[in-house]
Amino acid sequence: MNTSADRILTVEGVTKSFGEKTVIRDISIRLDRGELVCLLGQSGAGKTTLFNVISGLYEPDAGRVLLNGEDVTGRPGKISYMLQKDLLLPYRTVLDNAALPLIVRGMKKSEARERAGAEFHKFGLDGYEKKYPSQLSGGMRQRAALLRTYLSASGVALLDEPFSALDTLTKSAMHKWYLGVMREIELSTLFITHDIDEAILLSDRIYIMSGKPGEITDEIVIDVPKPRPADFNLTEEFLRYKRTLVSML
């Protein structure tokens, strides 16, 4: 099933050091079209550093990043990246925040607004166009940030702990919503979490990242077809995955 045509992102043997300290070593991962893959690991394992390399913000010491077969190592602007905080710019309306990646890429302001505005419904943000981020709840801000990420580029999104700041109830609502919207907009996602439940619930595959320097130590496939039943997190199967993952960490 995983033919090379399905492969959207490949990370090959990436190593990154800061001075003497090697933060990640020889990381190779892949992401197929429409997949949701999770990087699970304790904080300090270099997950965010890896994302900074994949997004092109950092130049790796070794290895490369391929997007649809094209080498994008050290070239920002190709892969959309949502950093840990939602980082909606306080001085722009929600609409202008969402349109920002388009404007940065050189689209005319009016055109970018129109293009971004057309997506508000899909992201459940109707009526919030003219609001400022400070007027939004945590969940809404996250949706707006995801919309902006989606408009950023190329069908691949890197999400760095996108739901970690939300309370439990909002979080599980956002999980459901994200799985739905992702199918609709055909977004392939690589995301970071340290929450095991969240990883099992959302992922098609999970990479375990650990050690210092951080390395990929394991990979497991969550072989439960999507959409998954609402009570999936209460099933025996879910617990089995959880036990496996806990033992891996």
Partner: protein
């Protein structure tokens, strides 16, 4: 005490304090505690203000022109310097101490030099206003640029933004708040700076008027022009506040 009542009291208290002050002043003059030739009564000052108004207005025009021109030039220069200093760290390290030192030189001390160099025209007045307004705005802008969350810059760079786009979409709007705080201070400095420069000679301006009425010991006119300077400074500060409201709409909507 209800919030509304407290609000009214808060707004009323400075008015009451001012009225009290004027009342004491009137009483002191009324009882002849200080001779009218030394301290004119508020009423006499009011009369002078009205009778001299056309003359004051002419001088005000000159002062205001110098203040605004100097302020505009000061803002433009601060903008260029602060942006360059933010962009090049070496320039920041070299320039910042000089900026601070330049501010310890009293305005009144450099004003005569400027007059000697530039003559009695408007140039030394504008130059002095530039010198006094430049520092607060530059420092405010530098602080504003530095207040930016580095993650916001990473985010923009991950979108493929260049240096100029980061400046335009993040640094500039983020610095506006701090910029306006600096501008508010500078706006009041601007008028005072122009007046001080005019003291040292010239043809028009509130400072020129002040030296003339001083020589005539016309205390009532002295007070009238001081009040006018206060009013104009206040008006400029209010204008800055209004401009800030228009240009930073996100601050209002919470």
């Amino acid at each position: 005490m209800t919030a509304k009542y407290r609000n009214i009291t808060n707004k009323l208290s400075p008015v009451v304090a001012l009225a009290l002050l004027v009342g004491v002043w009137a009483a002191v003059c009324g009882f002849g505690a200080i001779p009218a030739s030394m301290l004119p009564s508020p009423l006499a000052v009011g009369r002078a203000f009205v009778s001299e108004f056309p003359v004051l207005l002419r001088h005000l025009k000159a002062t205001l022109t110098e203040s605004l021109a100097g302020l505009a030039l000061g803002v433009a220069l601060s903008f260029v310097f602060a942006s360059l200093m933010d962009r090049f760290r070496a320039l920041y390290r070299a320039g910042y101490p000089l900026l601070v030192i330049s501010q310890t030189i009293p305005t009144i001390a450099i004003a005569p030099l400027l007059v000697l160099w530039m003559g009695y025209g408007v140039q030394p007045k504008i130059a002095l206003v530039v010198l006094t307004t430049f520092f607060p705005i530059t420092v405010a802008l530098l602080d504003g640029y530095k207040s930016v969350d580095p993650d916001e810059i990473s985010l923009l760079r991950s979108m493929g933004a260049g240096e100029l786009q980061v400046f335009r979409y993040i640094k500039l709007p983020a610095s506006l708040n701090s910029f306006f705080s600096g501008l508010k201070i500078s706006a009041s400095y601007a008028v005072v700076g122009a007046v001080i420069a005019e003291w040292l000679g010239g043809f028009d301006g509130l400072g020129v008027y002040m030296t003339k009425v001083k020589k005539a010991y016309a205390f009532d006119k002295m007070f009238a022009v001081i009040i006018l300077i206060v009013l104009v400074s206040l008006a400029l500060m209010l204008a800055v506040t209004a401009l800030r409201k228009i240009l930073t709409p996100w601050e209002r909507k919470v």
